[in-house]
């Protein structure tokens, strides 16, 4: 059992959990993920590590409530426990002094890019961060990322904060104004990462994306998370989750991530019915 030692609501549907898992905290590195299972009947679901404290023995994850499992997790409180919490999984991000590195985070991916921003800054990079969300109330980790960034930009779809539009618009502007960029790292919805990859490809800017396919075990055993990179099949859980974004078949990833949409909708409907019944009682 793994105790939730702190919980914070970052936005109405975005929640941060600090979970006690000393062994995981001890080995965690930027770019890695964990798999958790809430209870006996739960699914194994991967979450990218947003932060960790070796001293406190805690690992931080940020979740966006979209389906049954994330809703159920979102309803949990400080002092509650999740049944299983395993990691750190996947390869750590490659962190070196590349020169100028642009970190592009979208939605809940902003939390996942935070450890990379911090590590890249520590490695001596000039870090340019661009974070984006649908609206300003969904922007997270703003201050944390700003603190480690040499330049910092915000984009919101509705223009409620920063640039009205997409993170890719800002990246395009940076490129148009001849800003020298050595590397781009992007974490967010697959469609956003695809747009970023397509944008940087003609300029030959090395671009890395952190992929988020459906997983089961996370140790290379099942192949649920297979992705196509440069025409080859890779397992995101052990070969990734970060890959050369210019070689990733994002359309394939998007199609495979929709495998269980109907089942996910049914699960969520059942959960909502059950919880609303509880509220009425």
């Amino acid at each position: 059992m793994y105790k939730i030692v702190a919980k914070r609501e970052l936005a109405p549907t975005v929640k941060l959990f600090e979970i006690s898992a000393p062994l995981v905290a001890n080995k965690a590195k930027a770019g890695q993920f964990i798999i958790l299972r809430i209870d006996e009947k739960g699914e194994r679901v991967p979450f990218t590590i947003a932060d960790w404290s070796r001293e406190k023995g805690t690992v931080t994850i940020v979740i966006l409530e979209v389906g049954k499992t994330t809703r159920q997790l979102g309803a949990m409180k400080e002092g509650d426990h999740v049944l299983n919490f395993v990691g750190p999984l996947g390869k750590p991000a490659e962190i070196e002094n590349y020169g100028t590195t642009v970190c592009v985070g979208g939605g809940v991916g902003i939390a996942c890019i935070y450890p990379e921003v911090r590590a890249l800054k520590a490695a001596g990079n000039r870090v340019v961060s661009i974070i984006g969300a649908r609206s300003k109330n969904l922007l997270i980790f703003e201050e944390e990322i700003r603190k480690f960034s040499d330049e910092f930009y915000i984009a919101t779809d509705d223009g409620s904060k920063g640039h009205r539009g997409f993170v890719s618009d800002i990246l395009q502007t940076l490129i148009n104004t001849n800003k020298h960029i050595d590397r781009v790292i992007t974490v967010g919805p697959p469609i956003m990462m695809k747009v970023i990859a397509n944008l940087t490809r003609p300029y030959g800017i090395r671009t890395v994306a952190s992929l988020n396919p459906i997983m089961v075990d996370g140790t290379g055993m099942c192949g649920s998370c297979r992705v196509i990179v440069g025409g080859e099949t890779k397992f995101a859980c052990v070969d990734g989750p970060e890959f050369d974004a210019h070689l990733v078949d994002f359309d394939h990833l998007i199609a495979r991530n929709r495998r269980y949409v109907e089942e996910e909708a049914l699960s969520l409907r059942n959960y909502e019915e059950a919880t609303s019944k509880c509220r009425k009682l």
Binding site: L23, V24, K27, R37, K41, G42, E43, R44, K68, T69, L83, N84, F85, V86, G87, P88, L89, V216, D217, G218, T219, G220, M221, C222, G223, S224, R226, I228, T233, V238, H252, A255, R256, R258, R259, Y260, E263, E264, L266, S267, N270
Partner: protein, 458 residues
């Protein structure tokens, strides 16, 4: 042995064979001729990878002393209810049985299962705690090899900790073998028995990630790696990454370990269509094809590139699959999968095969017949063409060397090229059987005992 009716059993996940009654077991045991040992060796025991004293336990059953029988079995085998179900006994102990020359061999496997079930249903006996020995051993992986090595070492008196990556112990016994062939409550009971010997089992720990082998060596006197063959093989043909194409591992893990057959009560989903094709001819392929029927498939096909004679699956499994309505398409190999606009598999293109000269495996090599391509409509495909050793631990462990096939290099005793590190089971042999992995676990346990003794005293 009585079995569930095929028409009924395809609608449930309950166990297929129902087991012997006491009377049937005694009657079966009475068929044993009690052959005299030849040059001090009992021939049926020679066929057993863990060396159970078979004539002795069969004699106890013959005399109605089932507790005596299980006591004899457990001297060598800590997982008898599992072995009594999934061992390929027809190729091992029963193959050696003299009765088999003219008649049916004594059903040694079924008798083992009977004795184990008889004891479990009446409450497991826990052996007395041995004198504790000075030494701690870490076991990586809680499948058949790891459980056996751990149990043997615990019975010798060592302090043993098993590390398991998944959330439940048992390895392939939990995720790989379906409920209808090996009920999970039986695996849990035998895992609990191993715990009762004093073995500590820590789940949710991925060795190589959460803790490394080098970390373990700082705390433990020796390490045994039994991480199995968990890496699914693929044919690398077009369309293999379409939605609806599963590896056998994913398909079985979702269903067995995550209980997707109880979705949405359990949260893990699985999609099984109306027309399911399983690629392969081994026991895992049979498990998948039979599971597909239980998940509601209307047509469940086995596509196999040789003939039934060359199939690696046990005859019993092939027969069970046929009885349940699995359709065998033999001398057929898939060449590509065709998907719809949403990326879901809709058809498989196959080519017919003919058998040529024998290959390295001794079986006649299948050769594609030119121009014989045809397509079949399918909406689910399960690729069950074998597993390779799981590379996670070898990759994360400096000094541990592997072959080209990815198996960890060990000597006869299971010692790797890294000081204090032993390995056994599918991670050293490549994908094999539960009982061979157990045999390797036993051998390594004995070697670890000698190693620690020499280290501490020599």
């Amino acid at each position: 042995m009585p079995e569930q009716d095929p028409k009924q059993r395809v609608k449930n996940f309950d166990e297929v064979p129902l087991g012997y009654s006491l009377d049937t077991a005694i009657a079966e045991a009475k068929r044993c001729l009690e052959c005299k040992p030849q040059k001090g060796r009992k021939i049926c025991v020679d066929g057993c990878p863990v060396g159970i004293d078979i004539p002795a336990f069969v004699k106890q059953i013959k005399e109605g002393n089932i507790e005596g029988a299980i006591h004899i079995i457990k001297k060598k085998n800590n997982l008898p209810a599992i072995c009594g179900r999934v061992c390929p006994y027809e190729d091992q102990c029963e193959k050696m049985c003299v009765m088999g020359v003219k008649f049916e061999p004594v059903a040694i496997g079924r008798l083992e299962r009977f004795a184990a079930d008889y004891e479990r249903e009446r409450g497991l006996n826990v052996p007395e705690k041995p004198v504790s020995k000075d030494g701690r051993v870490a076991v990586v992986g809680s499948g058949p090899a790891g459980l056996t090595a751990a149990a043997d070492l615990a019975r010798m008196g060592y302090k043993v900790t098993i590390f398991e990556a998944l959330h439940e112990a048992g390895g392939v016994l939990m995720y790989g073998i379906p409920e209808f062939r090996l009920p999970k409550k039986i695996v849990r009971a035998e895992v609990d028995y191993v715990r009762s010997l004093g073995v500590d089992i820590k789940t949710d720990i991925v060795i190589g990630k959460t803790i490394t082998i080098d970390d373990l060596l700082e705390e433990f006197d020796a390490v045994f790696i039994g991480t199995g063959a968990g890496l699914p093989n693929w044919m690398n043909i077009p369309g293999e990454n379409l939605s609806g194409v599963y590896s056998a591992n994913e398909f079985l893990t979702r269903i067995n370990l995550m209980r997707a057959y109880n979705f949405p009560e359990y949260d893990t989903p699985i999609r099984v269509g109306k027309k399911v094709a399983t690629i392969g001819g081994g026991n895992v392929a049979m498990d998948c094809a039979r599971t597909a029927l239980r998940m509601g498939a209307e047509e469940s096909y086995i596509l196999y590139r040789r003939t039934e004679k060359e199939m690696p699956a046990r005859i019993e499994e092939i027969e069970h699959a046929k009885e349940e309505g699995v359709i065998f398409k033999l001398l057929v190999a898939p060449t590509r999968y065709i998907g719809d606009e949403k990326g879901w598999v809709r058809q498989v293109e196959c080519v017919r095969m003919e058998l040529g000269e024998p290959d390295a495996s001794g079986r006649r090599r299948p050769i594609p017949v030119k121009g014989s391509e045809f397509t079949m409509d399918v909406d689910t495909v399960i690729v069950a063409i074998g597993q390779s050793p799981n590379p996670l631990v070898p990759k994360a462990t400096p000094g541990l060397q592997t072959t080209e096939e990815g198996t960890i290099i060990v000597n006869e005793e299971g010692l790797t090229l890294k000081e204090g590190v032993f390995a056994g089971g599918d991670i050293t042999s490549g994908a094999a059987t539960v009982i061979l992995a157990m045999g390797a676990g036993k051998k390594a346990a004995a070697a670890i005992d000698r190693y620690i003794f020499t280290k501490k005293c020599g």
